[in-house]
Every structure is written in C-alpha cells, then in structure tokens.
C-alpha cells in the first residue's frame, strides 16, 4: 500500500476495517489489487480526489480508474461524496461503484439520481463477495474506457 498516488487505479472508501480488508482480499483474489488506496471517510476521499488537505501534493490530473464507495461513512457521507464528485466538471467522469450492505438503503434512489455508475450489495457469503468484486473490478478496471485517457 505504498504505491504512488498518481498511479492509483482503485480508491476504496470504507470506514469498516473488516469490510475493507475483505474487499481488498476479494480484489486480491481476482488479482486486481494493484494501486489501491483505502481512505476511511468521506472527507478524506474528497481530499484525495480533489487533491486537497493531506493529499494536496497529489497530481489531480491522474485520477483512479474506479472509486469503490461505501455509503455509511463518518464525517461526510457517501452520498455527499458522490454529489461533490458528480457535480465537478472533471471528476464526474470517474466511475463510482457504491458498495453497500443492503440495497434496501434509502439512499439508492439518490445515488442513481446523482449518477452512480454501479450499485453493489455486499453479499454476506465471502465466496459470493469475491465473485461480485471480481466481476466489477474486471469490468471497471479492464474493460471500461473513460474519456480523454
């Protein structure tokens, strides 16, 4: 986890350490864990993405290929992060995949309205979890093309 920030491919925003570890392991199992940065709340995520705060020195032009965003976050919520991201002219092209415990979340609709790229319910079963994460990583990291790259 000491890779250069300007080569980050995945930004994982997750406050629960266990979930973060499981996600990283799932990605790892799918060989997709290179250049992953894990931030623990929405404020940090925004700092990273807009190169502010502790990430002020980061090269803003090089953005992650995908943001894995938990909705329930301390300080700034996932929905707020999504809103800021999607309302920024440049950052809006970054694919955002919402990872949440349940699709019953009241924020699902809001997320779609704001322009989320995917919405994933984290299965309880680890096998399924690995499968789902693998599929999304494959898609967003390897198959998806984003403009001006």
């Amino acid at each position: 986890m000491t890779q250069r920030n300007d080569e980050v491919e995945i930004l994982l925003v997750e406050d629960t350490a266990a979930d973060a570890e499981l996600t990283i392991r799932a990605l790892k199992k799918n060989c997709l864990v290179n250049n992953l940065v894990w931030v623990k709340d929405g404020a940090e995520a925004l700092d990273f993405l807009f190169a502010t705060g502790v990430y002020a020195d980061r090269d803003k032009t090089h953005q992650p290929k995908v943001v894995l965003l938990d909705l329930r976050l301390p300080r700034i919520s996932g929905v707020e992060v999504l809103r800021r991201l999607k309302s920024d002219e440049r950052a809006r092209t970054i694919p955002v995949v919402v990872l949440t415990s349940s699709k019953e979340d009241v924020d699902v609709e809001e997320c779609y309205r704001l322009g989320v790229n995917s919405y994933i319910t984290k299965p309880v079963s680890f096998d399924e979890f690995v499968k789902v994460v693998g599929e999304l990583g494959l898609y967003w990291l390897l198959l998806n093309k984003i403009p001006n790259e």
Partner: protein, 720 residues
C-alpha cells in the same frame, strides 16, 4: 281577497252568518204559509157566499116558474069551466025546450070545442052515463061512463060543481086524460047527465116541455091528493108514475099547512135526482103545479166558478210551495257552501295561525299581509306591531348580519326560492339565530303577490353546529397529531428494524468472510474438530444472512407503495408453479387449477404472495411421492376467496395462531427449509389489500391457506 288577519279573535264568522240566513229562510217559509192560509180563507168565504146566493136564486126561480105555470093553467081551467058552463046551459035549455036536439047540441059542442083547441074532447053523457054527444061520438054510441067516480058524484050530488077526475083512459079514443065535468039538470032540478072536457096528458106534457127548467129540471101537475097528473120529463115507465101518489113527506107537510105556495129541497121520488122545488096551488082548483130545478144544474155555475177559483188557489199554493222549496234548496246549497267555506277558512287560519315557526307574507310593495302569532314567541314583538311597521322585520336584524339580508334581497330578485341564516335582536335584547326561507307567491292569474317567508329559531342548532365544528376541528387536530405520532413511531420502528438488520449484515459478513479465509488459508493449522466447528460457523452465517434478507423484504412490504392493476391469478400461478417445478426436477408435482378469478391488486405483491404459498405447498409435500397442489377461488359478493391446498404434512391446528407470525415455525428447524417469514409476508400482503387470511390443516393430511381480497380495489389506493 286578502284580509290581513292577526289572530283568531275578531275575525268575521261565516258560521254565524249562515245561522242568521237560516232564520230568515224559516221566517220566509212561515210568511208563505200565512199568505196561503189567508188566501184559502178568503176564497172559502167568498165561495160560501156565492153558494148561498146561487141557492137562493134557484129557489126564487123555481117558485116564480111554478107560480107562472099555475097562473097559466088556472086560465086554461077557467076557460074549460066557461065552456062546460056553456055546454051545460045549452043542454039544459034544450031539455027545458022539449028535449035534446042531437045535431044542434053536437054543433054547439063542436063550436065550443073549436074555441078550445087544447081540449082533447068535449062530450056529454046522459043520465044513464051513456056518452051521447060531443067530439068523436058516433051516433048510437053505447060508451058508458056511468062507473066513473066523478059521474057517480055529479049524479048523486046536485051541488057538486065542477069536478076534476083522476087520470083515466078515454073510452072513446083511449087517450090518457084528465076530465073536467059538470052536472046537467032538468028543469025540475033532477039529474040529466054530465058535460065533460078531457085534457090529454100529452098536451100537458108538451106544454110543460116548452118551459126551460134545465136539462135535469122537472115540472109536474098534482091533484089534491098529490097524485101526479102530468110530468115533464115523461118518466120511462109512465104507468108507474102517472096517477100515483109519489110524494115526499116534505111536500105533504107543506100542503097540509094550507099555504098556496112554498118551496123545498128533496130527492125526486120519480128519478132520484136532487132538486129544489117550487110549489103553487092552481087558483080555483085543487091542483098543484110543482117545478123542480136540479141542484146539480142550478149549482153548476157556482161549481164552475168554485172549480176555477180552486184551481187558481191551487196554482197559487203550488207556486208558493215551489218557490219556497226552491228558495230553501238554494239556501241549503248556499248554506252547505258557506259552511264548507267556513270550515276551509277555519282550516287555513288554523294552519296559518298555529305555525310553530314565525311565518309571514310580505306583499309586493313590502306591506305585511300576514304575520303568524308565532312571531311573538320568536321575536318578542306582536303581529300587530309587525303589521303596523313593515320595516320592523328588517330593523330587528342584527347589524352585523344586515349585509346577509341585503345579499338575500338581491338574491331573491333572481330566484323564486331562497334562504339565509341571520341573527336578530329580540325585544328583550337577546340575540337569536334565525333560519329564513322564502318563496315568491303568484296569483292564479300569474301575478306576483309578494313573498311567503318562514323563519325558524335555529339558535340551538347553530350553537350545536358550532360546538360540533369546534369538536371536529379539535378532533381532527388530535387525530392528525396522533397520526403523525403513530407515523413517526412506525417510521422509527421500521427505521430501527431496518437499521438493525442492515447493520447486522456488516459484522455477519466479517464473520463469514474471515471464517472462510480461515478455512482457505489456515486450514492446515486446524485439526478436524476445529474445521468442523468453522463449518458450523459458516452454515449459521449463511442462515442468518437469509434471515436478515427475509426480514428486510418483509419490512419492505410494509413500506412499499402499492401499484394496483388487474392480475390474472391463474396465469400467475402457472408461471410460479413452473419455476418451482424446475427447481425440484426430481419431484412429482401436480397442480390442480380450479378457476381462480382474476383480481385487482399489486402484481408484485400478489406474485410474492402466491410464490410464498406455492413454495410452502411444494416444501411441505416433500415427503409425498405425488404432491397435489390445488389452487381455486370464487367471487363471494364483494369479496374474492382464494385457497391453496396441498396434501403435505399439514400442521396441528393448535399452532394455527403461530402460523402467520414472523420467524415462527411449526416445524423444527432442519426438517424444512425456511425462515418463518413466508406466511407472515402473505398476511401482510393480504392485509395491505384489505383482505383476510386464515389456515386450516391436519397433521399428515395437508393444509389449506385461504384468503379473501376485495372484489375490486380502488385504483388510486396506491398512495398508501
């Protein structure tokens, strides 16, 4: 026309007028009766008078007539006497001169007879009674009258004078005659014979017939013994009358008095006709002339007059009777009409005066034409005050409500009927609410006649309504508050449930994930018991995951908006059944569809409901080699009943209450898969559709889950 009335007092009483007219009619009838009585009396008196006069006149006429006839007949008798004297003298002279010269005597007699043509015969009989000379006496005739009483008497009584015989038949010419006779003496005074003149009764009768005594009158000549000598008219059987003494005691008594003349009334002994008779003795003879005038005849004129008068009187009586009857009938009709009118008037006045509400009639020019006494009760002002001051109606309106009445006034110009509620200030200052309604009044000719209004004191109602409104408002507030509270509590509870189930997933995922990692990466470090225990952990995390998912779905059912539409139940059941059958290919399942009707509901929910019921059926028929699942339904009034029946393991009815509760199971965990939310979900879905669900079962026989849904839900119920 319209008479303003204030109250029942001082109103013209039609009934009294009817009574006084009854008295008038009664007096009029009495007057008619008196007039009739007076007329009857007058006419009766007058007829009585004329009756007496008529009788008196008849008596006088009869007596005069008998007198005249007697006089006339007396003259005839005198002439006959003279002739008899002359003939006797001639015969005596010839006897004295030497004997009778027959031809000379006959010539003498013939000359004498010629002077008296009325005589039937003039003859002389000799001393032996042989009729020797005179009319129709043939020479040598041997006819004897020696046996005649008058001959006998003349022969025997030298001083007998002139005799008049009874009616007798002439022996010469056989005519009925009476004979006047005189003695003939010789010079020495001895009897030499008799000279006699016969008067034929026919002659007398003819003479009488020339006298007008009326058609029913009679004239008769009687001798001294009152024997009838001659009579007009001639009786039908003359022999039984002529010569007979048919006389009434009245006449005999009259004659016995010795008077020469008299009169009497009697029924004629000859023909039974009642007559008034006049009687006169013929002078110088013992004969009586009796003239009778029939009462019926001489009274005929009077009777005619009386009949005419009676007819006139009867006509008068009839006229007055009919007029009286007509007047009475007319009056009776009028009386009936008047009484009817009085009753109607009474009725309408009762209707008008005894209204509970304050009623009035305002004329086209604003004048008050009627004011019901109830105004006193409602306003404290009397009807008289309203009648005297038409603007009082408007003055008592509460100033704050004056505009309401103004609006109403402009309103009623356009409409026939209108109403308004306003307040009035009573005489005692109390403010009351009035419910006013009025409508235009039109006469039969369509002429506008003002407005008829009805005012009701609605204060109690208005106050009650205000109270109710206030109560309703506060009730609504309370209900809204309680609803909000309940909604908040419900939301809180659901949020809490949701949050719990949601948050449970995160640690569960960690447990499952790390247990898995432990198995994957550190299995070698564990013995077999450790690996078994890790398996148990993993199995239970999976089950808990399922529980949480189902709990979430269950909760979602309560929150999800409903989207109503038509649902083809049979089609849906088939679809679901196929999916279920595909999931258990090694089992033998049979679906029996018994025409379940279509319904109106949320398709997604109904699909979930049917899925749960069918999968339950599939699940609990697992031990059966041939599972039979029956789905049917029918419309029952405004409900539709459905049932899903299986031949599975069934259940004990004593646990039926647990069947529909969340996470409640009636079979031990492990025997059948499932969390225990399936039927709870069914109940929730049925409940949200406004229906009812229940179950029947028997252990090892099967179970039937039935539910009803409203036959047609309102489409916009989706807001729930």
């Amino acid at each position: 026309m319209v008479t303003p009335t204030i109250s029942a007092k001082g109103r013209p009483r039609l009934a009294e007028r009817a009574t006084s007219s009854a008295a008038f009619v009664k007096w009029m009838q009495v007057g008619f009766a008196l007039i009739n009585l007076f007329v009857f009396g007058m006419v009766g008196f007058s007829l009585h008078q004329s009756h007496g006069e008529s009788q008196a006149r008849a008596a006088v006429t009869g007596q005069n007539l008998s007198h005249l006839l007697a006089q006339e007949f007396a003259g005839d008798i005198d002439k006959i006497d003279l002739t008899l004297f002359a003939a006797a003298d001639e015969a005596e002279r010839q006897l004295a001169a030497g004997g009778i010269d027959g031809p000379a005597l006959n010539a003498f007699i013939a000359r004498a007879h010629a002077r008296l043509p009325n005589l039937d015969a003039l003859r002389i009989a000799d001393a032996q009674g042989i009729v020797a000379y005179g009319s129709d006496v043939a020479p040598g005739s041997q006819v004897s009258v020696a046996d005649r009483p008058h001959f006998v008497r003349l022969r025997d009584e030298p001083g007998a004078g002139r005799l008049i015989s009874r009616v007798q038949k002439s022996r010469v010419n056989h005519k009925s005659v009476i004979v006047f006779a005189r003695r003939i003496n010789r010079a020495d005074g001895s009897f030499a014979g008799m000279v006699f003149a016969a008067v034929a009764l026919d002659y007398l009768t003819r003479a009488f017939a020339n006298i007008d005594v009326g058609r029913q009158g009679s004239i008769s000549l009687r001798d001294a013994e009152l024997r009838i000598l001659a009579r007009h008219p001639v009786p039908p059987e003359p022999d039984k009358v002529i010569g007979e003494k048919l006389a009434v005691p009245t006449l005999e008594a009259l004659i016995r008095t010795g008077l020469d003349a008299g009169g009497y009334v009697s029924t004629d002994t000859v023909d039974g006709v009642e007559r008034k008779f006049g009687v006169h003795r013929i002078p110088n003879s013992p004969l009586y002339m009796v003239v009778g005038r029939a009462t019926g005849e001489y009274m005929a004129q009077w009777r005619n007059q009386a009949a005419n008068t009676a007819a006139m009187v009867a006509l008068f009586f009839l006229t007055t009777l009919i007029s009286s009857w007509l007047i009475h009938r007319n009056w009776k009709h009028q009386l009936v009409a008047t009484l009817e009118l009085a009753r109607e008037e009474e009725k309408f006045h009762t209707v008008a005066d005894y209204t509970y509400d304050w009623e009035y009639w305002e004329g086209p020019d604003g004048e008050i034409l009627f004011m019901s006494p109830a105004c006193d009760r409602v306003t404290g002002y009397s009807p008289a005050e309203f009648l005297a001051q038409p603007d009082l109606l408007y003055r008592i309106i509460h100033p704050d409500d004056a505009h309401l009445m103004a609006d109403h006034q402009s309103d009623i110009t356009a409409r026939d009927e209108a109403g308004v509620d306003f307040r009035i200030v009573r005489r005692d200052g109390e403010v009351r609410w009035i419910g006013h309604g009025c409508r235009a009044v039109f006469g039969r000719d369509g002429k506008f006649m003002g407005r008829r209004a009805s005012n009701r004191d609605i204060t109690e109602r208005v106050e009650a309504e205000a109270t109710v409104r206030q109560l309703n408002a506060s009730l609504e507030q309370r209900v809204a508050r309680r609803t909000a509270e309940l909604e908040a509590a419900n939301k809180e509870l659901e949020d809490f449930s949701y949050s719990i189930s949601h948050d449970l997933r995160t640690p569960l995922r960690a447990i499952a994930g790390f247990a898995r990692i432990l198995v994957d990466e550190h299995a070698a470090a564990l013995d077999s018991e450790g690996r078994r225990l890790l398996d148990v952990v993993q199995v239970n995390t999976v089950r808990m995951g399922c529980l949480i998912d189902e709990l979430l779905e269950f909760l979602r059912l309560g929150r999800r908006p409903m989207n109503f539409g038509p649902v083809d139940v049979a089609q849906l059941v088939l679809e679901i059944f196929r999916e279920l059958r595909d999931s258990v290919p090694d089992r033998k399942l049979q679906l029996v569809l018994k025409n379940p009707p279509s319904l109106w509901g949320d398709r997604t929910m109904i699909r979930r409901l049917l899925t749960n019921l069918l999968s339950n059926a599939v699940k609990f028929t697992q031990p059966r080699p041939q599972a039979v699942i029956e789905v049917g339904g029918e419309i029952q009034g405004d409900q539709v009943l459905y049932y899903v029946k299986d031949n599975g393991v069934g259940f004990d009815m004593q646990y039926v209450d647990k069947l529909f509760q969340v996470f409640e199971r009636v079979h031990p965990v492990g025997q059948f898969e499932g969390s225990g939310t399936g039927l709870a979900m069914v109940r929730r879905i049925v409940g949200r559709h406004g229906g009812r669900v229940w179950a029947e079962g028997q252990v090892d026989v099967g179970a039937t889950i039935s539910f009803t849904l409203p036959a047609r839900e309102v489409a916009n119920d989706a807001t729930q």
